[in-house]
């Protein structure tokens, strides 16, 4: 029963959004008394409620998985504890600053927790990318074949063409850089995007028809 409920609801949800997106609102020409999308707002709201519920489920899941790790003292439990404490503190302070009346709590949340800690930790994580790119460029861009040489040359022109120095060296650098980006890199990326989207379509159809081997097929077990 559970298995069939999941299959039926998945199919109905999929076909509704397919119809709502691709077909015109009034299917019969000249008739305006019936709209496919008449209840679109209500249905979309219902799906958003499911999104909200999924956030709640995510929180419960974090407590189950990492709480178990802490209680059992399993390997890495201090990290799990830090995660739970961090989540609780941010949640309480965030809700309090939103709905409470204390400016001190708002300031604590905004200035200390968000701007002081989360902001800097996030920036630090992303800035690591610069170091990895520098290390990878040094190790990878070696002229050991014609293809590698071409790739290195393109990378250098793009790098220099984007910075002020390139413009100072020659006004052609940004032009060549833009040509490489638009005429060489973009077709490659577009081909990759096409590939990804075709694969997504295939996966979506399989999920829509419940052909994917997963919980839906296993009846939730």
């Amino acid at each position: 029963m559970r298995k069939w409920l999941i299959i039926v609801f998945t199919f109905l949800g999929g076909i509704y959004f397919f119809i709502a997106f691709f077909l015109p609102e009034h299917i019969v020409a000249g008739r305006t008394d019936f709209q496919w999308t008449r209840y679109n707002d209500e249905i979309s709201d219902a799906f958003q409620v499911i999104f909200y519920v999924s956030i709640g489920l995510g929180v419960i899941n974090i407590f189950r998985v990492y709480g178990y790790q802490v209680v059992r003292g399993r390997k890495g439990w201090p990290n799990a504890l830090a995660l739970i404490i961090g989540m609780l503190v941010m949640t309480v302070a965030g809700l309090w600053s939103e709905f409470g009346k204390s400016d001190a709590v708002s300031a604590f949340f905004q200035d200390f927790l968000f701007t002081g800690i989360y902001n800097n930790l996030g920036s630090a994580m992303f800035s690591l990318l610069a170091f990895y790119i520098a290390g990878a460029a040094y190790r990878s861009f070696r002229v050991q074949s014609v293809e590698a040489g071409l790739m290195m040359l393109a990378a250098l022109v793009v790098m220099i063409g984007q910075i002020p120095l390139g413009f100072y060296l020659s006004a052609k650098f940004p032009v060549v850089r833009n040509w490489l980006m638009s005429q060489v890199s973009t077709p490659g990326i577009r081909a990759i995007i096409f590939g990804i989207v075709v694969a997504m379509l295939v996966t979506a159809v399989r999920m829509w028809l419940s052909l994917e081997k997963g919980r839906a097929r296993a009846g939730g077990r």
């Binding site: 997106f21 609102e25 679109n40 707002d41 979309s44 799906f47 958003q48 999104f51 909200y52 905004q110 968000f114 701007t115 989360y118 902001n119 800097n120 930790l121 996030g122 920036s123 994580m125 992303f126 800035s127 990318l129 610069a130 170091f131 790119i133 520098a134 290390g135 460029a137 040094y138 190790r139 861009f141 070696r142 002229v143 050991q144 290195m152 250098l156 790098m159 220099i160 063409g161 984007q162 910075i163 002020p164 120095l165 390139g166 413009f167 100072y168 650098f173 940004p174 833009n178 980006m181 638009s182 890199s185 973009t186 990326i189 577009r190 995007i193």
Partner: protein, 358 residues
Amino acid sequence: MPAEPAPKPFWLLSIDRRVVYLFLLVALTTPLVVQKFTSHLTMKPAPLPSARKLFDRIEQIAKERDEAVRPFREKRRPELEAKLAESDDLKKVTDPAKRQADLNTAVEKALAEEVRAARLWNKIVILGSEVEPQTRGELYPQAEAVIRHLMMRRIPFAVMTLTAPGVGYTRAIPDKVARELGRDYGKDWANFGYQVGGSLRLQQMGKNIPATLKEDVNRTPVEKVPCMQGIKDAGDVPLVIEISGLVGTLGSWINYFASEKSRPDMANGCTAVSVTDSFAYLESKQIVGLLEGIAGAAAYNEFLAEIREPDQPYPSAGPRNHMTSQTVAHVLIVLFVALGNLGVILAALARRRKGAGP
């Protein structure tokens, strides 16, 4: 017979990655520190055509608006000048030049109010701002530059975010620029904070903006926010600017934000690592402009400096300074790549000499 020891890798080919990281750290931070003491180290950013396209599109919107309200302004200006010239405040000013300047300012302000009230140009630009702590370094200056442009030209805009960590920035960035330029919340911009629901939300918004957004972050109903009055659907939006380091958000706007009859122009601001993805949309003309990382923000600020009124502050020098820092870092990377390749050549020559034998 003992085995021959493995050849020692040539040192130019095996520089420790920590050495590379250390050099890069110095290259990035030194210009930033030096710039605190002198402004001579900054370099003019490269003019990026993709950023210019976005700038030109916003200028075009300003022109369209001005054309739409020109007859009304031309009709009302003499009446307002005559009326305001009689005000007590202006009569007190004795210097004729200052008096004329004050009168012009007062007339422009009154005209702006009347134009807004008459709803002669009922449009709003939407700014999707997914500026997060992780991408703050690149996307904050981009959002600031675009918001500055919109505020300089008094083009009303609505800002919102599709990610929870972006909420603080949707408030902080417009507030900062508005303080500098003397703009008012509600009249010049509206903030709708975090919008949950991703593409479904955008699809609903495209069909009916007030019913989907309902209220701004101050819990004011959309209908009562002055710049949102009369805005119905995506047809009333000439441009959506999506500033994001996330994969898929730009695609969601392009795919889903449309009314039955029209689709607004789209533009994008992205991090440097995702430029290649966004370029595909630019080449296919699905977006009309693109800000590429901090370089895009720096180039945009140069364009803003060209149209700045004498009484308006200069755009932030931050992106230009960061570009100088990035220049040094890029040069360092080029040097390391050159060293690596020099190592390849020297190692090959050494192998050849060894192969030739004594």
